[in-house]
């Protein structure tokens, strides 16, 4: 009985919590997402009327299954055809014209690419198999999977891809936009209030499409400026012997071929920029929470955590992994 109770709770809990998801278009935190959510609720209302109306007709058909013809109108074929024309053509035309006007002529202008000059700042987001590279034009800051923006500020996201098609999607803040090879797409990012908003790649992009998530940290403007300044700096120098050992190992092994740590000789561009990896809250596009142990685990065997990721496992000793983990954790 107890298990059944627990199972029922598992099934019911999300129903009760519905709409409170961290990645839910139904808990909008920006004007664009809010408009879309409102549009949804209206469409749902109209759809419910249509659905229950049609089902009511079927129920009438069942109740009157032994009597031909319609209630009140009897067996007049012209009335029957009139019903088909009214419900099948006239009413749909009215409803659809309204929908078209509201959503496709009016609302669409508010969720489209932001007009030139209408935004306060621009960030570049580049999709990779399977992480998001984030750049802040005009600064040297580069990060991955964790996008910091000032809250209550119109931010233009310029979305491109380094390989296949991805789709940049933070549902609480706006609709999605694909990143297409050879094309540059733009979308507005605006957060009503400071907070953390989860997003995820929405276009199937291969093996680890499921683990290509991101977080948007909308911060008070001051806090954001401080963060950005920190990210512009080159990497910290190691503070302990173990960290020095870790840096040495990092630069000697294949790590440096794929990753950049600004201020060192590591200048690879296949994997995420690690200059301030220690300041990030997660690893592997949100697959692990970031701490020294997780870093160590990740470096030790990325393939068992994120099978198919482009990062190979290295043939090093446990002490070596610990040293590299300690060094990277230090890069705040």
């Amino acid at each position: 009985m107890k298990q059944w109770g627990r199972a029922a709770l598992v099934v019911a809990a999300p129903l009760l919590l519905g709409g409170c998801g961290k990645q839910s278009p139904l808990s909008p935190k920006s004007p664009s997402s809010h408009d879309i959510a409102v549009l949804w609720w209206w469409m749902l209302g109209v759809a419910a009327i249509v659905f229950f109306g049609a089902v009511a007709l079927l129920v009438i058909g069942w109740v009157r299954r032994d009597r031909p013809g319609l209630p009140f109108f009897g067996e007049r074929e012209s009335v029957n055809v009139g019903l088909v024309i009214t419900f099948g053509m006239v009413i749909p035309v009215v409803v659809l014209v309204a929908l078209f006007g509201i959503s496709d002529l009016w609302l669409v202008t508010k969720t489209g690419a932001p007009a030139k000059g209408s935004t306060a700042m621009t960030i570049r987001v580049i999709g990779h198999q399977w992480f998001w590279e984030v750049r802040y034009p005009g600064t040297s800051a580069v990060t991955a999977n964790e996008i910091h923006v000032p809250a209550r500020t119109r931010v233009q996201v310029v979305a491109t891809t380094a390989d296949v098609i991805h789709s940049f999607w933070v549902p609480q803040l706006n609709r999605k936009i694909d990143t297409i090879p050879g094309r540059t797409n733009r979308v507005l990012l605006y957060a009503d209030e400071p907070g953390v908003y989860r997003g995820q790649c929405a276009e199937f992009c291969g093996l680890q499409h499921a683990h290509m998530a991101m977080k948007v940290f909308a911060q008070p403007r001051k806090e954001f400026q401080t963060w950005l300044k920190g990210q512009e700096k080159p990497a910290d120098t190691p503070a302990t012997a173990e960290q020095r050992e870790g840096r040495q190992l990092f630069l000697q092994n294949s790590c440096a071929g794929c990753h950049t740590i600004r201020g060192t000789s590591a200048q690879g561009d296949l994997g995420p920029d690690l200059t301030h990896v220690g300041s990030r809250t997660t690893l592997g596009a949100l697959i692990l929470p970031n701490d020294p142990r997780a870093l160590e685990r990740w470096i030790h065997d990325p393939q068992s955590i994120k099978p198919g990721a482009k990062m190979p496992a290295l043939d090093l000793s446990n002490a070596d992994f610990k040293a590299i983990g300690s060094y990277l954790d230090h890069l705040r």
Binding site: A54, P68, S103, W169, G182, G206
Partner: protein, 634 residues
């Protein structure tokens, strides 16, 4: 025939039996050109693929039963997800609709003795079988495609999808396209030219209008797919750069070509189901369809407008706003013909005296599911909403309501409805109704929560998901629903298999059907009708005098055509008597040709160009042999 034969007719019927008899045993099936036997082969083959696609679906649902599932792993999931889509669309729904239902029923409904091109018909079956095997050879040799059923480039290019999985997909679909094209051309000519004299176009059953629309849509839609796939294979096998941006190609070209095919394909999938619905409803509500001409027109319009809406699959691509608005408008317009059909069915049911037997239950279920799928579909014409919810589980819910609810439900209803005709035995009514309710519950339990989980932000096509986003409970329900749905479908299979051996004898017309197929015996003889039936309305079985006239004609030797392997041809619109067609008899060449073409595809896949060329020559030789002199009749 429905009525006992008059004495004078017996020698004529005997003669027809002799003329139309095919070889016995396995050789008979391998060389058959009988549209009914070909239809049955299409049925069993596509049902086998349905089972395969179903197993893939259950694997997917098992993997997603809980967060961080480990049933399949990322590669296994991507294989199952891709093959589920490919199998269900290309190897199940389309072949069972046009290959099984179309093939078996269209000639019967129009009073013809076969399809217009019987050998082409056999060829299209063997090609379909070969293409299906071709793709599953890929799966079982560890080379399943993993780029999803719409296979976007550059993910599907060699750089990102090495190995031959995508080649099995692309070549397999080109291969299967040959089959669909052949069947479609055959249906068009059959419907235009082989209608019994008297069945002018306005007396043609709505079922045939639906199949006419589908056949035209296929003929015009498939070339776009074939072209897209050919360019892809040029890229993959020969190093071309059609889709390679770095060399001046374009990735969006693939999406345009694919969806120019892909959206009409949606209507290709559901229109046959509409045809089935318009056959079952009049029979069980015992009245004619309301607004017949409007429905016929709507069926054709849906197929036509369906070609102008493809870019609504691409609203998140970043197309210009003008483009998206145009395609949104077109997508809204197509709602109208669907609305007409929907309310024509509903009004017919309301104003008739329905008997809610198994086939009608599936159709009522279909109507309910189609309304839900249609309403969620309309929402995707709202561009901002589409851009928010596309590529989430909301869209997965939507198209399963349309494809499973609006296409597969009528197909299952149709299986019950025509089972007595094809086998001569009745299905079990009580178990039939139970199978419906279990499937209906399973269907909704599986797919309805997907709307919600999509609205909670769960993207489609991810092999796993974290447990802290509020998605888990819905996924549990969906997976339980999937197992229930599978149980419902197994009940359908069990019912029909047991009934095949132990069902009551059905007789020619167990339901009081309206269309001609109920005029002949169950199962129908090889020649379908001993006498070409008289037709004076779209409900010929309800014009009682006409059937008496058939019997008189048979006795008097009018419209019997027992001098050879013959069927009459009529004019395309008014169905006036045109000429007598000498129909081809059974032949091994369609099968041999399909084998030869299989050789071409197999060796292209292996990049053995010389061997492939040899099979091209072999194909030409077989084609020549096909058109050689027929062996004398035994």
């Amino acid at each position: 025939m429905a009525v006992a034969l008059p004495k004078a007719a017996e020698p004529r019927v005997d003669r027809l039996e002799r003329i139309w008899k095919e070889r016995p045993g396995v050789m008979g099936w391998l060389t058959t050109v009988d549209h009914k036997r070909i239809g049955i082969m299409f049925l069993f083959t596509s049902l086998a693929f349905f089972a395969a696609g179903g197993v893939e679906a259950l694997l997917i649902r098992s993997q997603l039963l809980q967060p961080n599932g480990t049933v399949l792993g990322p590669n296994g999931f991507n294989e199952a997800m891709t093959m589920h889509g490919v199998t269900m669309i290309f190897l199940f729904v389309v072949p069972i609709s046009i290959g099984a239902f179309g093939n078996y029923l269209v000639p019967l409904m129009i009073g013809a003795r076969d399809m217009a091109f019987p050998r082409l018909n056999a060829f299209s079956f063997w090609v379909f079988l070969a293409a299906g095997i071709f793709m599953y050879v890929g799966v079982f040799s560890g080379n399943a495609p993993t780029a999803g059923w719409f296979d976007y480039v550059p993910l599907a290019e060699k750089t990102y999808s090495p190995g031959s999985g995508i080649d099995f997909y692309a070549l397999g679909l080109i291969f299967a396209g040959i089959s669909s094209t052949a069947t479609a051309v055959n249906l068009i000519v059959t419907i235009f030219k082989l209608r019994a004299p008297g069945m002018s176009i306005n007396r043609m059953p709505l079922f045939c209008f639906a199949f006419l629309a589908v056949a035209f849509a296929l003929v015009f839609a498939l070339p776009a797919l074939t072209c897209a796939l050919l360019l892809l294979e040029f890229d993959r096998l020969l190093g071309f750069h059609f889709y390679d941006v770095s060399a001046g190609g374009d990735t969006i070209l693939w999406q345009n070509l694919f969806w120019i095919f892909g959206h009409p394909e949606v209507y290709i999938i559901i229109l046959p189901a509409f045809g089935i619905a318009t056959s079952i409803i009049p029979t069980f509500v015992r009245r004619r369809m309301v607004a017949f001409p409007l429905v016929a027109l709507a069926e054709l319009l849906v197929a036509f407008i369906g070609f102008g809406v493809w870019a609504h699959h691409m609203f998140a691509v970043g197309l210009s706003q003008v483009t998206t608005i145009y395609f949104a408008a077109a997508s809204l317009i197509i709602v109208i013909p669907s609305g007409i059909q929907l309310f024509a069915w509903i009004t017919t049911i309301v104003t008739g005296t329905p008997r809610f037997k198994t086939p009608l239950l599936w159709i009522v279920g279909f109507i309910v599911l189609f309304i839900i799928g249609g309403l969620s579909g309309v929402m995707f014409a709202a561009i901002p909403f589409d851009q928010q919810l596309t590529d989430t589980y909301f869209v997965v819910a939507h198209f399963h309501y349309v494809i499973f609810g609006a296409a597969v439900f009528p197909i299952l209803g149709g299986l019950y409805y025509w089972f007595p005709k094809v086998t001569g035995r009745m299905y079990h009514e009580r178990w039939g109704q139970a199978s419906f309710w279990v499937s209906f519950a399973g269907m909704n339990l599986t797919f309805f929560p997907m709307h919600i989980v999509g609205l909670l932000g769960m993207p489609r096509r991810q092999y796993t998901y974290p447990g802290d986003l509020g998605w888990t409970g819905y996924n549990v329900v969906e997976s339980i629903g999937a197992y229930l749905l599978a149980a419902g479908l197994l009940m359908v299979v069990a019912n029909l298999v047991v009934s095949l051996f132990r069902g009551e004898r059905a007789g020619p017309d167990p339901f009081g059907g309206a269309t001609l197929e109920w005029a002949t015996s169950s199962p129908p003889p090889a020649y379908n009708y001993a006498v070409i039936p008289k037709v004076s309305s779209p409900y010929p079985m309800w014009d009682a005098g006409d059937r008496d006239e058939d019997v008189a004609n048979l006795a008097g030797g009018r419209m019997v055509l027992e001098q050879g392997h013959e069927t009459p041809a009529s004019t395309a619109v008014d169905a006036e008597w045109d000429e007598i067609l000498d129909m081809p008899s059974s032949s091994p060449w369609p099968l041999v040709l399909a084998v030869a073409i299989s050789g071409i595809f197999a060796f292209v896949l292996l990049e053995q160009w010389i061997a492939a060329a040899v099979f091209v020559v072999a194909t030409l030789v077989v084609l020549a042999a096909w058109h050689g002199k027929e062996p004398a009749e035994a």
